[in-house]
């Protein structure tokens, strides 16, 4: 550890001596990207703190790529937390497009944050290379709750506005968007109670402070399995069976598909052959048996979407989220 700390310190000092992080990256990389990519370690920016769900799934994949030797060089994870992901992705956008600096992103960083906060990028400042997996949200109640189905809960909220309290992980997070979409589609009005994390929103539900929670699958699934919670509806894609018989909001016609996706991004202009090497490695790892198990345990669905289709998807999402321009703080 001593060595590790020292190395961290040494790296820190090296970086300090460069004018800026991005300048540092481009100064030291003079070789152009060629088909023998990668020739050295690839840096993968995770724009969230270590330990979150996107961080965990990305680390798992990177570890698989390493174990299965899908790339000749290692991928080094770098956590750059802040600004709901915008800080880390700004760093990716401004780095040299040679494939040695890539990032992982949830689509909201790209399609929502530019609408609600001042960010130094546009929704198309990167090439979104591939979408790998998605994690739907799920609306849960305690198992002794009088609400047996999503219809029960929605009916109660419509019968008396603001009579049903739903906890979620902060304003304008995916969990918030998922519950808002139910409000938009059905006219129900909930009391949306923002918490600082999914775990805190879950604690509030278990402790009886709120009537329901819109939570990420990974957080609530173990509680459902243990019989503490009942899932009413998920925000997954049409017909998704990720939560067994639990219908999706799209199936019931009470909401939209809102998932936290995991995609690989790179600064715009990375050569095609380099992109292909990267995408191949990540797609192979995502399609592996090991990942399937991890995904199941973490309520995640493999959902591979290629670059062209992903661009369309992001454009639509970006336009749709324009309605949130004034929603920050609401």
């Amino acid at each position: 550890m001593k060595r590790r700390t020292m190395r961290a310190v040494a790296i820190g000092l090296t970086i300090a001596s460069c004018a800026s992080l991005s300048a540092c990256g481009s100064d030291t990389t003079s070789e152009g990207a060629t088909s023998d990519f990668p020739k050295r370690t690839i840096e993968m920016v995770v724009p969230y703190a270590a330990g979150g769900s996107t961080d965990a799934v990305t680390r798992f994949l990177v570890d698989l790529i390493d174990k299965q030797k899908l790339l000749p060089k290692r991928i080094q994870i770098v956590n750059r937390d802040g600004g709901s992901g915008s800080v880390g992705l700004t760093q990716v956008a401004s780095s040299k497009p040679d494939g040695y600096t890539i990032g992982v992103a949830q689509s909201t960083i790209v399609t929502l944050q530019p609408h609600v906060q001042k960010v130094a990028y546009e929704y198309d400042s990167w090439d979104a290379l591939v979408q790998l997996s998605t994690a739907p949200k799920v609306l849960v109640v305690k198992s002794d709750s009088p609400f047996k189905t999503a219809e029960d809960l929605i009916a109660a909220a419509k019968a008396k506005a603001r009579s049903v309290r739903v906890s979620q992980a902060g304003n304008l997070t995916d969990t918030d968007l998922a519950i808002r979409s139910i409000e938009d589609r059905t006219g129900a009005e909930f009391v949306r109670v923002p918490y600082e994390s999914d775990a805190a929103a879950l604690t509030a539900l278990l402790g009886g402070s709120v009537d329901a929670q819109m939570g990420s699958g990974a957080t609530v699934a173990p509680q459902i399995a243990a019989g503490k919670l009942r899932a009413l509806v998920s925000s997954g894609s049409k017909g998704s069976k990720l939560f067994g018989d639990v219908p999706t909001a799209v199936d019931l016609g009470v909401g939209d598909e809102i998932t936290t996706n995991q995609m690989i991004v790179a600064p715009a202009g990375v050569p095609e052959d380099v992109k292909r090497v990267l995408v191949d490695a990540f797609v192979k790892a995502t399609k592996s048996k090991e990942f399937a198990e991890f995904a199941k345990a973490n309520s995640r669905e493999v959902a591979i979407v290629d670059e062209a289709e992903l661009a369309t998807q992001l454009r639509e999402e970006y336009d749709r989220n324009a309605s949130f321009e004034d929603a920050a703080g609401g």
């Binding site: 550890m1 001593k2 590790r4 700390t5 961290a8 310190v9 820190g12 992080l21 703190a49 270590a50 330990g51 961080d55 965990a56 680390r59 798992f60 570890d63 994870i77 956590n79 937390d81 802040g82 600004g83 800080v87 700004t90 609600v116 906060q117 001042k118 603001r162 309290r165 902060g170 304003n171 304008l172 997070t173 009391v191 109670v193 923002p194 918490y195 600082e196 775990a199 805190a200 879950l202 604690t203 509030a204 278990l206 402790g207 009886g208 402070s209 709120v210 990974a218 699934a221 173990p222 509680q223 399995a225 243990a226 503490k228 198990e293 991890f294 345990a297 920050a328 703080g329 609401g330």
Partner: protein, 506 residues
């Protein structure tokens, strides 16, 4: 009998060479990051997270638990020696601990801190082992109104505890709460006081603030005050061990601190810090009642908060292991290590992974013993630091502090924050403002604000939520009784002395 056999199985797993190595690595790393400024247990775990799939879930848990414990032990070292707490939970230890160091009693202070940590950690483990499932249900029954009352109670206690004028302490509390609002609002995501700066949007970091107001400001003072050539007094070798009287005086504070720390540690949101404040307040009250000196190097004031801190660290594992819910960022990191090993902890974690659970419990006992064995001999080494002249020591501390704060986030901005905090703290310190309430209010500001807003959203604006809920009503009633008792006491005293005094201040 079941528990005994489970625990024996656990020890069989925990005493393998690999497990022992993981525990040893954990406690060493933890002690190191606890002692060094800047990087805390969270940073160390984040750096090692990538290693966890390789070493497997059992060893990863043991490693992380070791780091967590080690940091809780190590955090008190700089508080006592230099008056510079490495983390928020060690701030209260500074008050009596550093005063002891100045009197040449750093040895006993450090020893008692280690012994208290050991006892509290071990007692906490018994609680975790026997009561995790029922306690976890209790833990989730607390909600936003209770967090708020607890934090407010802690801050008010702090105002009364801080020597000097109440108005000044109150001012520092408000300043701390205000500083805590800078950055993106946790609940709404809205930027506040950021002036469109990406750096400010991150908020002011805890490490730069603590290092600034305690570390750098202390260094500034030592430069300005040329009279002070040494930071403390290096004790003679035979004065390293606590005396029989030290041990006797510490025994009860350690037990009380363990109880307070464990109970409050079950409640999410800032409880670790609050429990050290409560423990300090309790010890001061008892010392006053027994006409013992307090406030100028009383060992009880080290024993209590240090024990509370460690028992709270153990209690933090209860909701994680029994429910799969992390209440703090450090336990969230432990959860991530499990996730990366394909284990998703939930309410059935202990049943589904009994072997893992008991191995980890056993490993925590082992880590505690290791830490005691590691820390007591180190006391001699650490106290030698005080023999170093200030003109040599302070520049070294300055350098370490700068590197530590910079390296935590590789951020030059954090260094600026530290410098500004130090200048403000130096100026306010010269005007007799205490920085303790400022830092603790800063630490607790997020919980205070979020839980206030959540409470009022839940009740749709009605304050009755604080009375309707049994726990919050109980906390309010307790606070009311204490306030009443203080008022009556003050009245009696005022009548006795013929003048109204500031309650318990000198």
């Amino acid at each position: 009998v079941d528990i005994v056999s489970n625990l024996l199985d656990g020890f069989t797993a925990a005493l393998t060479p690999a497990s022992l190595l993981a525990a040893l690595a954990g406690v060493l790393i933890g002690t190191l990051v606890g002692v060094l400024p800047g990087i805390g247990p969270l940073g160390a775990m984040a750096m090692l997270l990538g290693l966890t799939p390789t070493i497997g879930s059992t060893h990863a848990l043991i490693l992380f638990a070791g780091i967590y414990y080690g940091a809780a032990y190590g955090g008190s070292t700089t508080s006592i020696l230099l008056g510079m707490p490495g983390e928020a939970s060690a701030v209260m230890t500074t008050l009596e601990g550093h005063a002891m160091a100045k009197q040449g009693r750093a040895g006993p202070a450090l020893s008692i801190a280690a012994i208290g940590s050991f006892v509290a950690g071990s007692l906490g483990l018994v609680g975790l082992m026997l009561l995790a499932p029922p306690l976890s249900d209790l833990a989730v029954s607390f909600g936003a109104p209770e967090y708020l009352l607890l934090v407010l109670g802690g801050l008010l206690l702090l105002v009364f505890l801080t020597p000097g004028s109440t108005m000044r302490s109150l001012f520092m509390v408000f300043l701390g709460l205000a500083a805590g609002t800078v950055g993106l609002d946790t609940l709404s995501g809205e930027p506040r006081f950021t002036f469109d700066s990406v750096d400010l949007a991150q908020g002011l970091g805890l490490a730069p603030i603590i290092m600034g107001v305690f570390g750098l400001a202390e260094i500034l003072r030592s430069v300005a005050d040329s009279e002070r050539v040494t930071v403390g007094k290096a004790p003679a070798l035979r004065e390293l061990a606590p005396t029989r009287s030290d041990l006797r005086r510490s025994a009860r504070p350690i037990l009380r601190g363990s109880g307070i720390g464990f109970a409050l540690g079950l409640i999410p949101g800032g409880s670790g810090v609050t429990s050290t404040v409560v423990s300090y307040a309790v010890e001061r009250r008892i010392a006053r009642r027994n006409k013992r000196p307090f406030g100028n190097g009383a060992i009880e004031g080290v024993a209590g908060p240090e024990s509370a801190n460690n028992a709270g660290a153990t209690a933090g594992f209860v909701p994680l292991l029994a429910l799969g819910i992390p209440f703090s960022s450090v336990t969230a990191m432990v959860l991530a290590a499990l996730l990366l090993n394909g284990i998703v902890p939930g309410p059935t974690f202990i049943d589904d992974n009994a072997n893992l659970f008991w191995a980890v419990i056993a490993a925590m006992y082992v880590a505690n013993v290791m830490l005691l064995a590691l820390n007591l001999p180190l006391v001699g080494l650490f106290t030698r630091v005080l023999a170093v002249p200030a003109r040599v020591l302070m520049p070294c501390v300055l350098l370490l502090t700068l590197i530590g704060v910079y390296a935590t986030n590789n951020s030059m901005f954090d260094v600026f924050v530290m410098a500004c905090a130090a200048i403000v703290a130096y100026a306010l310190g010269a005007l007799n403002f205490s920085m303790t309430p400022f830092v603790l209010a800063f630490v607790l500001s997020d919980v205070a604000e979020d839980s206030l807003r959540q409470s009022l959203i839940l009740s749709q604006g009605s304050l009755s939520i604080f009375i309707d809920r049994p726990w919050s009503a109980a906390i309010l009633a307790l606070a009311f009784l204490i306030a009443l008792q203080r008022l009556v006491l003050a009245r009696i005293r005022a009548r006795g002395l013929g003048l109204v005094q500031h309650e318990e201040e000198e």
